[in-house]
């Protein structure tokens, strides 16, 4: 709308340059117009970097995975029960890594979803304005704590505590990694879910109070159902984060691919496997090198799926009122 005021007809500059007697002022205008177009083009290139990055990610993952799938059949990849690409007797079944990823994520969500939801309901419906103004920035602050620090917490703080309660727990286990990952995701879920609940119009709460409902009844039976798609979107984004989380699991869950859904055992996740291989010096274009891209492709597909799902759910909730 604004640009309309500034727009010059397309043939304008050409017409002016053709005529030989151009007043200096007009010539300056042409120059300005030309400069404007260049600037716009450069800015557009910058914006395109996002598209380029996406394409580069997909292209690299597909290209290297294609090399991998020349040696390994897709059927074996998804059905074999062992993942030992670096051994003499190599097996290429991604399932142990997927099982590890899902188990740690499930433990994380079992911690983060109840606590995050209750915290969100409390913040949105019970807390005073002042308390909210203090807690919200702290939550935002906590989202920025580096994940490697949580890895330390899982390995050297939570695991020893759990071992006291349950002595046969191994030093590397998915339980402590999952619990810590859950603690890490709480602020994230609480913050997004609270935003969704705050978006519920005040008149709905007032209607509920007018009927004689208490705060708790209003929160549980009116506000939460009204904000449910926003809350679910927060959960889905939390899942996506848990699935892609790397350092906590690389440090605390162990790095042995293990086809199990028992959180008290150690196992490797997709991300932990990628870290493990990247630490060792694998020759470029070897099958081991390609295997991390194949694993990465699976991870990318999983998180992309969750992100799109979250997007759809959130869009639905936006249209509700």
């Amino acid at each position: 709308m604004i640009s309309a005021a500034n727009k010059v007809p397309k043939n304008y500059s050409a017409a002016v340059t053709e005529s030989t007697t151009v007043s200096p002022r007009l010539a300056k205008n042409v120059q300005r117009h030309f400069k404007e177009r260049i600037i716009e083009f450069v800015l557009m290139l910058a914006a395109l970097s996002a598209v380029f990055t996406t394409f580069a990610i997909v292209a690299i993952l597909l290209y290297e995975s294609l090399g991998f799938f020349k040696t390994v059949s897709i059927v074996e990849f998804f059905t074999a029960k062992e993942w030992t690409p670096l051994f003499e007797d190599a097996h290429y079944g991604i399932m142990p890594l997927v099982a590890g990823t899902l188990t740690t994520s499930a433990v994380a969500l079992a911690v983060a979803i109840p606590i995050g939801t209750v915290a969100a309901i409390y913040l949105s419906e019970f807390a005073s304005h002042r308390a909210r103004e203090i807690v919200k920035p702290i939550l935002e602050l906590l989202v920025g704590v580096p994940t490697i620090v949580f890895g330390y917490f899982a390995l050297l703080f939570v695991t020893p505590i759990l071992q006291k309660l349950y002595p046969e727990l191994p030093g590397f286990n998915m339980l402590s990694a999952g619990i810590v990952m859950g603690i890490m995701i709480i602020p994230y879920i609480a913050s997004v879910a609270e935003d969704a609940m705050r978006a519920v119009p005040m008149s709905m709460r007032e209607g509920s109070y007018a009927m004689g409902a208490t705060r708790f009844q209003t929160a549980i039976r009116v506000v939460t159902p009204a904000a449910v798609s926003g809350i679910v979107a927060a959960y889905i984004l939390g899942i996506s984060r848990a699935v892609g989380e790397t350092m906590v699991v690389a440090v605390a869950a162990g790095q042995q691919p293990n086809l199990t859904f028992d959180p008290t055992e150690g196992a490797a996740t997709i991300t932990a496997y990628i870290v493990q291989v990247a630490m060792g010096d694998l020759p470029h274009a070897s099958i081991g090198y390609q295997s991390i891209f194949a694993a990465g492709l699976v991870l990318f597909a999983m998180t992309l799926g969750f992100n799109i799902l979250g997007h759809i759910v959130r869009k639905k909730y936006r249209e509700q009122y």
Partner: protein, 317 residues
Amino acid sequence: MNSNTPKIKASVIENLGAVRAMIKRHKRNDILFATIGLVAIMFGLLALLTLFVDLVMDGYPRFNLQFFSDFPSRRAGSAGLLSAWVGSLLVMLVTFLTAVPVGVAAGLYLEEYAPKNWFSDLIEINVSNLAGVPSIIYGLLALGLFVYGLNLGQSILTAGLTLGLLILPIVIVSTREAIRSIPVAIREAAYAVGATKWQVVKDHVVKYSQGGILTGVIIGMSRALGETAPIITIGALTFIAFLPPSPVTTEVPFINFEWLSSSFTVLPIQMFNWLSRPDHAFHINAAATGAIIIIVTLLMNGTAIWLRYKIRKNIKW
């Protein structure tokens, strides 16, 4: 309903005691839930406070200047952070120089220039999707593209570019949010006195959104500082007992770019390395490093949140 009302009224009077008990129960539920909510929030906050106190207490013996001026070593007691913090600093410099110009430019384009069509939709969708891609995937991208595709090697340049791409969505989104709050009247006034589009953007839009953009940049940089996975994936070394060549020299032209292609390590990787050793003495070093990373990132995030709060309060269009 209507025919029932007198009946209910009658039953309320008859069962006054029961109704009172019900009200009491509901009020108790209120208090109960408020307590549970408070506990839930406290649990989250306390867990993180515990983490921080635990780190500081474990790492306490290593908080001295020598820890910052020593190279890593085989002996935990004399191992230091020198190569790690210098590496972090240089990587952050490259990240800043790539992410900020590109991110701000992209934000400006999307908000001020882009026509509303499928093309800008495509860019929008891409930006929001990139924000949800796990960081380790960026590491794989960098490994395939920068390290082996463009032959940049496992260098500071590669790491800086990788983290630059990683925080690009954060910078773009915060630039757009900052721009969106500037009223159209400001732009119209500038156009009215004959400014070109770029003059409006450069002298007014960018100028008034500086604070908001800075907020996003600080949050992005603090994320980049704590990010470990993508840098491990490009194959950063974990034991570095030398410094990259200095970016500033004593001879003309006073700067060199050799440091860009140097090997390096960064703080989170140094911490990861110490953490994965079985020897407990190294865990103390890891704790000290973790405490330092947390303090720096929390300070950065705190500054950003404070800045945003200040801007929100001060703006009177």
